[in-house]
């Protein structure tokens, strides 16, 4: 199936057109995207640092992970909603942008990883988890999310 008609249709929806033609809508949504990104950086790192043994000490990784979970979910939802809006305003540009596809790859991998492998290891916490394994899980998490951020920034450079 040729995806181009779909791409064009998305771009020409009322929402896509409105964002594209407005002077301030795109920048404002972009700023919201960045705010959610910073929040997510904190919600991810505070757990990863703990799992690496370089973060907070009084609470276990599982306690921290449970505590910040609502903020992680909220920031991810914020990123996805603002991201979809930005995508709708320049669908064709994204479709032909290699950085966009790299980012989507990292995003899917990072999201799946965070809510499966990392969550399981973080919640197990303490005695049952080998510290070296916890550290490795955290390092992979940081790398995957950094990949999302770097490729995301690169979309604007193509």
């Amino acid at each position: 199936m040729d995806p181009l008609p779909l791409i064009e249709w998305i771009e020409n929806t009322a929402i896509g057109t409105a964002i594209r033609e407005s002077t301030w809508l795109f920048p404002v949504i972009e700023a919201g995207h960045l705010l959610a990104l910073a929040l997510m950086g904190g919600a991810v790192l505070i757990v990863d640092l703990r799992m690496m043994g370089w973060g907070m000490r009084r609470l276990s990784a599982s306690q921290i992970s449970r505590d910040v979970h609502p903020w992680l979910v909220a920031s991810l939802l914020g990123l996805i909603v603002t991201g979809i809006l930005l995508f709708m305003s320049e669908t064709t540009k994204c479709y032909f942008n290699p950085a966009f596809w790299v980012k989507m790859g990292f995003l899917v991998a990072a999201t799946l990883y965070t809510f499966t492998v990392r969550q399981r290891v973080a919640l197990a916490g303490g005695a049952e988890v080998d510290p070296a394994k916890a550290r490795l899980v955290a390092i992979v998490s940081v790398c995957l999310w950094s990949g999302v951020g770097i490729a995301g920034r690169a979309i604007g450079f193509y």
């Binding site: 002077t23 301030w24 920048p27 404002v28 972009e30 700023a31 960045l34 705010l35 990104l37 910073a38 929040l39 997510m40 950086g41 904190g42 919600a43 991810v44 790192l45 505070i46 640092l49 370089w54 973060g55 907070m56 000490r57 009084r58 609470l59 306690q63 921290i64 505590d67 910040v68 609502p70 903020w71 950094s146 951020g149 770097i150 920034r153 690169a154 450079f157």
Partner: protein, 164 residues
């Protein structure tokens, strides 16, 4: 006087080199965004603790002491990359209203931290283990989040020079 300095920098060969390079400017910008995630992300986690919106069972000093080195590492990278970005094209920033507001908000955010540390934080031992912290600590956390949100928004807007 500031304008003279900005003009001198704009004409420097090193400034021109970054300005004309295809890869350097985007690379520095990416470092700026990622280090902001590190710095602001962890500062926000602390702010959320201050307003009791997360980690309520953690003593504030545990959050503060253990995150501080990472916040500072992020801050250093953020400032260095930020200075480099301005260094690349000083005259574009000089007259940009969003840049000016961003610098003002940064100053206010710094003041907010100073007031917090010189004030209620001196008696932290008394309230460290409370789930809900004293009023002025909560105000400091809320203010910090508001100011830094403004800083991020203005930072993003610098690229869109509407009021040229």
């Amino acid at each position: 006087m500031l304008l003279r300095l900005f003009e001198t920098v704009q004409a420097m060969p090193s400034s021109m080199a970054i300005r004309e390079s295809i890869y350097l400017y985007p690379a520095i910008e990416s470092v700026h965004v990622l280090s902001t995630c590190l710095f602001l992300g962890l500062v926000t986690m602390m702010d959320l603790r201050l307003v009791s919106a997360t980690l309520r069972s953690a003593p504030l000093t545990d959050v503060q002491h253990r995150l501080f080195p990472w916040q500072m590492a992020g801050f250093a990278l953020m400032v260095m990359s930020g200075v480099l970005l301005v260094f690349t094209e000083p005259l574009r920033f000089y007259s940009n209203i969003f840049f000016q507001v961003k610098m003002l908000l940064l100053l206010l955010a710094g003041l907010n931290m100073l007031v917090f540390h010189a004030g209620v934080y001196r008696r932290v031992a008394e309230w460290d283990h409370q789930e809900v912290l004293p009023g002025s600590a909560r105000v400091a956390g809320a203010l910090s989040m508001v100011l830094f949100s403004g800083i991020v928004v203005c930072g993003r807007m610098i690229a869109y020079n509407w009021f040229k």
